[in-house]
Symmetry: C2
Subunit: 331 residues, 2 copies
Amino acid sequence: MTIERIAELAGVSRSTVSRVINNSPDVREETRVRVMRVIEEQGYYPNAAARSLASRKSRTIAVVDPSSVDARFGDLFFPLMLLRGIAKACQNSNYNVMLSNVDPKRPETYLSLVNSGEVAGFILGTGRAGVDMMEHLYERNVPFILIGTHPPRPDICCITSDNVTGGFMAARYLASKGYKRIAVFTGSRDVGTAIDRLEGFKQGMASAGLELPPEYEVWTRQGNSDAYEAMTQLWSLPERPEAIFCWSDPPAIRTLDWAEQHGVRVPQDLAVMGFDGVPFAAMTNPPLTTIEQPAIDIGMRAVETLIKHLRTGEPMVSSSLPVRLIERDSC
Amino acid sequence: MTIERIAELAGVSRSTVSRVINNSPDVREETRVRVMRVIEEQGYYPNAAARSLASRKSRTIAVVDPSSVDARFGDLFFPLMLLRGIAKACQNSNYNVMLSNVDPKRPETYLSLVNSGEVAGFILGTGRAGVDMMEHLYERNVPFILIGTHPPRPDICCITSDNVTGGFMAARYLASKGYKRIAVFTGSRDVGTAIDRLEGFKQGMASAGLELPPEYEVWTRQGNSDAYEAMTQLWSLPERPEAIFCWSDPPAIRTLDWAEQHGVRVPQDLAVMGFDGVPFAAMTNPPLTTIEQPAIDIGMRAVETLIKHLRTGEPMVSSSLPVRLIERDSC
DNA sequence: GTACAAATTGGAAACGCTCCCAGAGGATGG
DNA sequence: CCATCCTCTGGGAGCGTTTCCAATTTGTAC
């Protein structure tokens, strides 16, 4: 079934059917209805390849390396929610999502994507592949958006959680609970999100009139045992902390484990707070108080921003989306 | 840059360039080399839309509802690994993966996918959307494959873990460790994987000459507290079990929690075994012995099977992929 | 050197749509 | 009633490939 055949059956020309399909305003209502009826009767769907060939436009958005985003300690909740948000927003706007697992070592794997015209724009994760691609896309002037990080250059659009405010909220919340000696576990120095959260946390501490002594600021690397060791060290300090803010849920969960094993009661002896809102954090003992990231919203916003740019040509604007405090029993 | 221009620069016809691009055997080696040189010099990539229009073939595979697969208790590791396998295999074969978050309530969302010709074949998850689509695809003779479940009809192709053997292995392993009174937590009665694992487990018990009394077979529904309640009940039995096999890791992890809270030592007082191989299971206390599902392999196999069918027209054959015992310290 | 088959290559017609341009009516104003 | 302007519709020329078929070149055996 082609547009030609529909035109025939509806007694109009190809052009008119095309106009109906594309919601052109200049079709008489009566004609539109007639054509639509035929289209539905025949179960006609326009051929995507032909459309995109003729119009020189694509309706698919590629996602590169999404699981590099916030996939610390093997927790893949965030990336998957991101994907879900992306898929949802794309569906709303009638775009398709392509999952492009590119190999950064083989540029042709993504060059072909960029150059074959099948992709209208890219959403890039924070991993190696995403960063490598960024350069190429920038050079070739292909629209792209970064997620889960902040802009490396001011003219590059990024969508992320409001990590700074999240850190701030954590500090203020702990302070409001009456804790004075609050320590923080933060991530690698080269992870943008970790830096932002720490930054916000420090601002929050300051604004609450609290000190953060250097020995209370512990940089942990990725790895299972880090939080354990860090806790052990922290606990042997002459002045033990009353509360600890972890830049991410998995180390917070580990800290909970550590406490249980060392007979430290949470929250009576030590309050623990996380960041992310992974599902498992609701099932710990005690359930973890944490800051939830709007993963789905980030995905959706990225798509919406990209599509708006695709449609209007307006420059894309970065945004950081609000996080939410989930009060549970660990503080 | 078009094929025409390349032809011109290489001093051959469009047809010849096309043959080179498509690895046709009937191009003289010398010519092929010359054309390839020009292609590379010019950084030419064929236009995907034009190709698929002319050839009436698509090189994209759509994945529907992958996170419905084994996403119990909010654990999304399996679905994401699945996706990773799918993406990898597609990349190997030069196919694209489309993430199609279709709305089962609005058939036009997927009918358009099927009928616009942009998708060559589908990989369906086990959720509502996947099942609904199956009917349509079957009727319309569009190739599709199911993952993470066993065939509803013999002529439908499914790729899954070998759950039966996994259950069997679990029983034999626990028996080999000397445990006699072994209980089992299994999932909802309508989840195919749960049924298979239980089935295999029973076979394993029988083959080891062990009894499985009815009160040792506990059906748990999805939910956080189920494993807790089930354990409490089990522990109040006159004959307490020495070991427990959980059909999935999350309830096993909950069981570990329960044990810790009730002063039951693992594995001395109670051995716990899981199924899935989620990353978190390596970080529990003690680390969980479990059966690992080959998530990535399943994704890859699904794609390979589908593509082979697309290429050759041969019928697709179902397969269940081997699972692996991960010995840790909980047994 | 010739005849014939095989290996290569070129040409042209699709593939199913969009989009520009021109044309047909109908309404409006003088 | 005619010129003018709108609104709506039709026609045709692509879009960049593939693919069939015919033409040309090359190779082989006599």
